[in-house]
Amino acid sequence: MKTEVRNLTRVFGKTVAVNDISFSFEDGNIFGFIGPNGAGKTTTIRIMATLDLATSGDVFYDGVSATLYPEAVRRVVGYMPDSLPGYKDIQVWEYLDFFARSFGLKGAERTRALDDIVEFTNLGELRNKFLYALSKGMKQRVSLARALIHNPKVLIMDEPAAGLDPRARHELRTLLKILADQKKAIFLSSHILSELQDICDGAVIIEQGKLLSAGTLNDLLAQVNGAPIPSAAPAPAQPQSGETADLSGSDAATAAPQPQAAPKGVSITLKTPRGEAEPVRLKLLEHPLTRSVDLFDDDEVHAVIEGTDAEVSRVVGTVFAAGLTVLSFTRNQMGLEELFMKITQGKVQ
């Protein structure tokens, strides 16, 4: 199922919460939705989940409009919000049973759906607990079970990992990977970018309601880490009206402003005979690719060398040839967090 957000705009009074954003993704993958607080993530997600209507533009699920056919769309979309149910007078299984019935599941089909989802989200021991008595992590599991009870093809999640402890976050990551393997498309917003980087296949970055960048994770990171971008010979640009950034394939389009392609680099720590660190430092500084050299005690040198793969290899080869002991050797790469910091300005509307 292809999910396509097309020229989506949402205006509240004089505030443009979402400003003409377009992107698309397909099933079997996990996509992150990133942006500073107040960037328009929740508004976009709410429109995608048919909880709100766009001022203009639309969201399409296999070409079916969410604006015109919200009831049909709800059958294929599961939405997990950042807030959690806290009813004092309803048990976990009753809550899930209500949603199963509300989606029209009947008889054995409903029983099977309930059993499957309880097993999948590991809620067996919590079946008869009241919702208010659950911890945050347990409520998140109930919320996930609720969103999945009708076996949707697209799962939209707003800050699912917020407030979870490391174990619960790990469990959530595992569940999401299983769901992606089941050919579901998962679209989630999160502030924990390091974790998104671990599980996401693609990402959309927005700020002040505008799309800043969108593409597969490899392509996004490649731009900032200087690797060649496959099939990106013409500079990717902000999708025009009727044109969407496709996150699914390798031909990802990304939006302006583009981060400057940073040269790749390595950090290298060398061990020198005592008292010989300074000459090594000076020798390294003479090289045009050396960005910085620091001394630790008087027998350790830490250098950062930047350049293309071939250039860096030549410098490192020289170091090895000089017979110096290499203590550590690390390739410096920007992650999603660095990318996010680099291309967003932290502005809110």
């Binding site: 048919t50 209507l53 079916v64 604006t67 015109l68 019935r101």
Partner: protein, 499 residues
């Protein structure tokens, strides 16, 4: 085996919201405590009455006891079924992220019906808890079995309160909750004594005559018509935003003056064809048309001029169908036109009623007030949609009503706070500018009797001019109200719609 299958099928056919409501009601600790207390209090009162009763053959110990229980039952039903339903629904609706009516494929009607079914079961529970004590009252003497039965029959009218609670709760807004609380307490003070009075009257007469049956039947009909109205308005609130949410309510409201004719049936049955007065028809028709016009006006000030593509997609292409769709669809233009159309019925009927001069003046006065109210609505819409002042129509309406009300009370204050000392013309003018003042005056109808055609002409002329100012906006809305080319729109596949 057959029984098991029957109950399974029954369980599957029940409304999911109703099942949820039942589970929540009976697992709610406060509800259980409340029910327990109700039983305990009744038990104590029974003991008290049983110990104090005289066992006199002509005694009426049971009457007082009976009335006490009926009073408590009605009060508790109002509190529990209306406020309880309102609170629970408002809580659910205020949660914008977990609003199940927007997350699932449940239809808005299923949500409201489920809520209503839940409230009705609670009324039934309260009633069944009262029943043993009502029976005990019967054995305490002073009551006839028929009077017991009729009183019991009056209970379902309380369903209206539950519907009112559901309607208020459907907004999910705190300010509506506050308004509802104020309204419910005020109306409870009006309804319960009236209810009490009917029962007391019944006791005193000791028999059920034709007038009583008319009262009961008319009450049932009013409750039914008002209940349907509340149901459809709740449906409008719960329906997805920018859908054609007001269509059913508008169609019903327009049909209300015709449906109200059903209310003549009890009169016709009781009095027979020879004694039946056609004036009943005139009075009922007049009242319902005025009511429908006012509700249309109130709806209009909360609506936008144009609709969403969701509504336009359902618009018929034929001109007549398109115009009717425009008229009844969400949008202030349709509501305002319908208000005037409905109001045209009593205007047309006025010359044909077999009315005295005083009665004619009364109805002319009432029409003047309704027309002036619609004038306020029209002016609010003009200011909101034809000018660049950034205020919604409902806010303009509030400003006008507050201003008119302030203006209307100045002569009263100058007259030392006395209304009765004011001249008829001053009172008429005050009633036209302040509808709150008009309501107060309606309690004492004397000025209405003296109303003349001038007030009606004046209010009609002012409202007509205001309506002309709004005409360009209405025409613009009508031009936009057409079905777009749907070539590019892909409907959902069968697979997508499959449950």
């Amino acid at each position: 085996m057959v029984e098991k299958a029957f109950f399974e099928n029954l369980g599957e056919s029940l409304n999911p919201v109703f099942i949820k409501e039942m589970r929540q009601y009976f697992q709610n600790r406060r509800m259980v405590i409340f029910m327990g207390l109700l039983l305990l209090v009744q038990f104590i009162v029974t003991l008290f009455f049983a110990s104090a009763m005289t066992f006199d053959a002509d005694g009426s110990d049971g009457v007082v006891f009976f009335l006490l229980i009926v009073f408590a039952g009605a009060g508790l039903s109002v509190l529990l079924c209306s406020i309880g339903a309102e609170q629970r629904f408002a809580e659910e609706r205020s949660d914008k992220e977990l609003n199940y009516s927007m997350l699932t494929t449940l239809k808005p009607s299923a949500v409201i019906i489920g809520k209503l079914e839940g409230a009705m079961v609670m009324i039934l529970c309260i009633f069944s808890m009262l029943l043993p004590f009502l029976t005990a009252a019967y054995f305490m003497r002073g009551l006839s079995a028929a009077s017991l039965l009729v009183t019991v029959c009056l209970f379902p009218i309380l369903v209206l309160y539950a519907l009112a609670g559901i309607f208020a709760g459907s907004f999910g807004q705190k300010w509506v909750t506050v308004l509802f609380f104020v309204g419910i307490f005020n109306s409870a003070f009006a309804l319960i004594p009236a209810f009490f009075e009917i029962v007391e009257d019944l006791m005193e007469r000791g028999s059920i005559d034709s007038t009583f049956w008319i009262t009961v039947l008319v009450e049932y009909e009013v409750a039914l018509l008002a209940g349907i109205m509340l149901f459809l308005l709740s449906l409008a609130v719960v329906s997805p935003p920018k859908s054609n949410r007001l269509l059913p309510a508008k169609v019903y409201l327009f049909a209300l003056p015709f449906l109200s004719l059903l209310m003549m049936i009890p009169y016709y049955i009781v009095y027979g064809p020879s004694d039946f007065s056609p004036d009943v028809f005139f009075f009922i028709e007049f009242t319902f048309c005025c009511f429908a016009a006012v509700v249309f006006g109130i709806i209009a000030i909360f609506e936008m001029p144009t609709n969403s593509i969701r509504v336009y997609m359902k618009c018929p292409r034929a001109p007549v169908g398109r115009f009717l769709h425009f008229l009844f669809s969400t949008g202030f233009s349709g509501s305002l036109i319908l208000a005037f159309l409905v109001l045209a019925i009593p205007f047309a009927l006025l010359p044909f009623g077999d009315l005295s001069a005083d009665e004619t003046a009364y109805f002319q006065g009432l029409l003047s007030i309704i027309v002036s109210f619609l004038g306020f609505v029209t002016f609010s819409l003009v200011l909101s949609w034809r000018t660049k002042l950034p205020l919604p129509a409902w806010l303009w309406m509030i400003i006008f009503e507050v201003a008119g009300n302030t203006l209307a009370w100045i002569p009263v204050l100058l007259n030392g706070g006395e209304i009765s000392g004011l001249g008829d013309y001053v009172r008429h003018a005050c009633m036209l500018v302040s509808h709150f003042y008009a309501l107060v005056e309606l309690v004492d109808t004397a000025p209405l009797w003296a109303f003349n055609l001038h007030a009606l002409y004046a209010s009609l002329a002012v409202t007509g001019v205001l309506f002309l100012l709004l005409l360009p906006a209405i025409f613009k809305a009508f031009r936009m109200h057409r079905r777009p080319d749907d070539g590019a729109v892909k409907p959902p596949t069968k697979e997508m719609l499959r449950k």
